[in-house]
Symmetry: C2
Subunit: 483 residues, 2 copies
């Protein structure tokens, strides 16, 4: 252990199949190492070499193993997991997709499943049981040992997207009358698995209400006889159990936290959240925002069936198609104008695309800004003003662009002026709609990312055609539109 080249993780190792202690994949070469291991697993499974499969799986850290299993088929994943003993299996399970999980559970009886779930941290056990159908969840809970059952049953009562849904029950408390020595003795009585996620000891009164917290380093340097309340942080931070997970994440970021206690409305300590769970929340929330802006569903990440993906995308696409019907009907309304001046039609894509681009830019900035706190309820007016100013400036430049392009191509000054004016107005309209709709949704208490995409696309398409063809018809004296 004293030679650097015998250190266990050894990320520079060229052979991804090397054995030894539990190994960790080189984070700078993950894709390649994972792929090599995926191929190796498939090869061994094909050859029926169950023992070699188990050795290989046990050799990997649970985090790496779950990443490697992700792209494998449900059948292969289930076979590999079926070979593992309950303890490492429990660590992998919370990262496995639901279909592999239920296929695996079909192979096991409730007693076996309960044994595995008892090994999991309480928050992850709750996630797994929460995803089961209620009947099976009941049965598994009944088969679990009393302590773990009680914890999971309590955690199941909270929304999975709240602080209560994120928190675990693995924490240590001491009374405000205890000494530091007593707090250390309490820690000593715990199992190492539970200690691993312990970063502080919480001090409570005799009604379990949170009074403060003691970071472990303070216990290390304190004299055993010192009263706990003398070394604790009395102004320690906490969150309430029903706080939304997005707000939990933002609380962690604002205060640079590693873990935080969770209290109920009577200030009673009910759990704790650690930063690693918050990392997952942030990942999830960012994927959700991107998905919603793009009109796809979060469920399709990792989904391999084209049928299921198509089914999840179609509502959005058909909604957009219906919205487009409005644009078609606007153009039908202006049929005479288009017949009188066909060149008008050529610039429809340019006008519409620019409305779309500006709409996406402005709405993404608001949606992301609301998520990160750059934009909020009280700054909506100021933000709208900024976007309005931006739209006038960009509109002027783009209008000059389309004026030049169209004048060169068509040598028709009147048309070029109409295009420039229409472009200017369309850009301003798209910016106001693109920033305004998500703000309006936020004010109404609706997540702006949900409805932003389709609303804005449709509104901009229809309005840009009305503005463009309306201005052209009036200014180029192309006659009254058809009735």
């Amino acid at each position: 252990m004293t030679e650097s080249n015998s250190t266990p993780a050894n990320p520079g190792a060229p052979d991804p199949l090397e054995r030894g202690d539990e190994r960790v994949l080189d984070p700078s070469n993950l894709e390649e190492e994972r792929h090599a291991l995926q191929l190796r697993f498939e090869e061994l499974l094909e050859a029926g070499a169950d023992e070699a499969v188990r050795d290989l799986a046990l050799d990997l850290s649970p985090g790496d193993l779950s990443e490697i299993l992700r792209p494998l088929s449900v059948a292969d994943t289930t076979r590999i997991l079926g070979l593992l003993p309950p303890d490492p299996l429990a660590e992998v399970l919370s990262e496995i997709d639901n279909r592999s999980l239920s296929t695996l559970f079909e192979l096991l009886d409730n007693e076996e499943i309960a044994d595995i779930i008892e090994e999991m941290p309480s928050d992850e056990a709750t996630d797994v049981i929460g995803d089961m159908d209620p009947e099976q969840a009941e049965e598994i809970l009944a088969a679990m040992e009393e302590e773990e059952r009680g914890e999971v049953a309590e955690l199941l009562r909270h929304s999975p997207e709240s602080a209560g849904g994120l928190m675990g029950k693995e924490y240590t408390t001491c009374l405000e009358t205890d000494t530091c020595g007593k707090a250390v003795a309490l820690l000593r009585s715990l199992e190492e698995d539970d200690l691993e996620e312990t970063h502080e000891v919480y001090v409570v009164d005799n009604r379990q209400r949170l009074v403060g917290s003691i970071p472990l380093f303070k216990l290390l340097i304190a004299h055993p006889e010192t009263p706990a309340i003398e070394v604790m942080d009395g102004d320690s931070l906490y969150v309430e159990v029903d706080l939304d997970q997005e707000e939990v994440a933002s609380f962690f970021r604002t205060h640079d936290l590693i873990s935080v206690p969770v209290v109920d409305h009577q200030m009673r300590l009910v759990g704790r959240i650690t930063a690693d769970d918050v990392l997952d929340v942030m990942e999830e929330e960012a994927t959700e925002d991107i998905s919603r802006l793009a009109g796809v569903s979060v469920a399709e990440f990792g989904e391999q069936s084209a049928f299921r993906v198509a089914r999840s995308r179609l509502p959005w696409l058909l909604g957009a198609l219906a919205g487009q019907l409005g644009a078609v009907m606007v153009m039908g309304h202006f049929e005479h104008s288009l017949q009188a001046k066909l060149a008008l039609a050529f610039y429809i894509p340019m006008i519409m695309a620019m409305a779309g681009n500006v709409g996406i830019q402005t709405s993404s900035v608001v949606v992301r800004g609301l998520a990160t706190g750059e934009v909020d309820f009280y700054r909506l007016g100021r933000h709208l003003l900024r976007e309005f100013g931006t739209a006038i400036l960009t509109g002027l430049v783009i209008a000059a662009g389309i004026f030049t392009i169209s004048f060169v191509l068509e040598t028709d000054l009147a048309l070029a002026l109409v295009l420039a004016l229409a472009m200017m107005l369309v850009v301003i309209f798209a910016a106001v709609v693109g920033s305004g709709i998500p703000m309006l949704l936020h004010r109404m208490g609706v997540d702006p990312a949900v409805a932003t995409g389709p609303f804005i696309t449709t509104a901009n398409d229809v309005a840009s055609m009305l503005i463009y063809l309306g201005i052209a018809t009036v200014l180029l004296s192309l006659g009254h539109p058809a009735p």
Copy 2:
């Protein structure tokens, strides 16, 4: 301290201006509380009540204060910060935007600035100095005390987006020959500020090479005479100093880490990264991906000048305009067809918008999938196949939609069939381009989020016009296109 209603943080407090210990804003009612405090600050500044301003600022946690200051003007921010003593000021500074920071620093001499920066954690001090112009950075460094200067100078050598750019120098090491009691004694000799970010003691050999790490809880429960190497995790995880920050974040998530040691290529310990820094990285990377997909710049978040925002958005918009020129020219090429059948023009928006929607859906899924690891180099082929299947299925449904709409509106069976066929092909083309281009960029080593938006938009607009008008001209026998 024994009554729950006298607990210090007291998040349910209705009056946001209540005094007492350092207070923390209620995370479930942040926008409102922050806004009230912003107004209060502006009011007090207007009244010239400097002392009240300072009291109010000192009353808030540094995290909350920096969030409250964000929307205030540079002048107001600078005035408030100028009233604070170096210690709380240092904690707020790393969260303040660059313009407020440089305005504040203009009011101070280098000696004063150095005093403030010395109070900051080394990673944050490095970020602040790294953002200065090189000459000022030199001067500040020269004015700093030797120990802090050495740390910051070393950290400045690493790319801000690498593990070296994220890491701090606040960690404790013991030798592999030390006992646990010695490790605790080493911790006792540190200042409390440095201990706050300490979650483990690193064990090194006599050449500073990382041998293992001891979580604090193990030191608490170990006997003082136990050798450190007996309680340490020998297979502890670490990252190398030049690992990209996005990969550091993914390493934290895979292995559920709270902190990780950073080593150089000789395995020598050079720093440590904590989960709170990784939370910031994830926030930053997600904002970057969303911004790039939407064609906006990360710099515009928090930017209040419409002029600067317009300048950052215009390149993208003008690029899209130039791309649109292609679509205009395609339509000019098919002028005869459009003249022969004007109804063709009405459906251009529908076809183009659908190409745009499918392009955004497919490219966002690839870009996000590459960021989270759902899609990787070795799974590109499989993902492309999935998208191809999805495109055929969604294409069929949308083609049926446009067939029905156009047949009802135009009662022209041939036109309806042409539209259905063109829609089908356009959806498939857009899906292949939308998934293929980001994959190709990834293979070429380019961040796919950077170039995806403009490329895909332009390719889809031009190609969808070519496909649609080409099919219509041939199948409806509208004569040869113009030369």
